[in-house]
Symmetry: C2
Subunit: 164 residues, 2 copies
DNA sequence: TCTGGAAGTAAAGCATGCTTGTCTAAATGA
DNA sequence: TCATTTAGACAAGCATGCTTTACTTCCAGA
């Protein structure tokens, strides 16, 4: 009793009160789990995995090169190639020859891929509407506003991610 | 042109505007990356990995049983045992005999473990202060308020997680 | 006092998501 | 033209974080 360690443990108990950062991390984890659960329970045959989700924002609708996707996603082109293989087998994307460079290929969403993305977005929208119903639209709008402000700051903290 | 697919791709481009849910996920990912980066660059020998972070909230200061931790974290006791092994080797936690059950052991933070947690929390606090400096305290407080409201709703969506 | 179940450990295995290294074909530029 | 670089594919390997199976020790109820 009264030892250094005991006092530390007491301070630790106090510190348990969540900061905004901790709240953010926890909410996002729960939201992500719920969204994945709903997407994969969506009756469709396809499975959505985090590796897929990570690439989607970096595949442009006109088609993107593997190397470009890799650079933006911050992983090697080999890693992207593997995930693209999977998504291609599920019929979500297709590889097209790049008219500007015969070494290159363009990865592009298929119609089915676009549908899958809409479905995923609709799941997020659905959850969002449920949240609004529970906590009120004001809170959700404030959340959006704050996150929109914070996002560029967080992006600015990213390491420039030299070569890979 | 004008095909079903083309129209879908156009809609897809519109849909790219981020919802609150998407913003939340992206911000959290960036925040998490930045926090991990800073913690592991903290000069200390120890490495922080997601698996450790996942257990920490479930280790009570008085000590918790492996089985309890596993139940709350939603993984098997074997998985928890492995991570606890690692944290024990780093001197962050210790295993004590449970006075109430000679089969059981209590996992508890050591002084060093408590320090490490303080350090981790201080990193989060530091990032939070930087965010306040950039976007203003109002936004960050609104963020906290909204997340605090949303958290219990998200927790309520959790599957009851039958047996494991 | 046994008998079933729970706590923890041990070992093996597996899914995921990466990496590095190597190769071919094509572009690029001196 | 020829050397270098680049895009992508292929193969192997590895780190992480789990799981399943099997065991020992101990508790607890019939």
């Amino acid at each position: 009793m009264g030892s250094v360690k005991t006092r530390q443990l007491e301070r630790l108990a106090e510190a348990k009160q969540a900061s905004a950062a901790q709240l953010l991390l926890k909410c996002a984890r729960l939201l992500n789990e719920e969204a994945m659960r709903r997407v994969n329970a969506g009756g469709r045959g396809l499975v959505m995995r985090p590796a897929h989700a990570a690439l989607i924002p970096h595949i442009e609708f006109e088609g993107s090169r593997i190397t470009d996707i890799a650079g933006r996603a911050g992983v090697t082109k080999q890693a992207v190639g593997q995930v693209v293989d999977e998504m291609e087998q599920e019929g979500l994307v297709e590889r097209l020859p790049d008219p500007h460079d015969r070494r290159a290929k363009l990865v592009r969403f298929t119609g089915r891929g676009a549908e899958a993305i809409f479905y995923g977005l609709s799941v997020l929208g659905e959850i969002e509407r449920e949240l609004e119903r529970e906590v009120g639209r004001t809170h959700v709008r404030a959340l959006s506003a704050a996150l929109s402000a914070i996002l560029p700051v967080l992006e600015g903290m990213q390491p420039s991610d030299e070569q890979r």
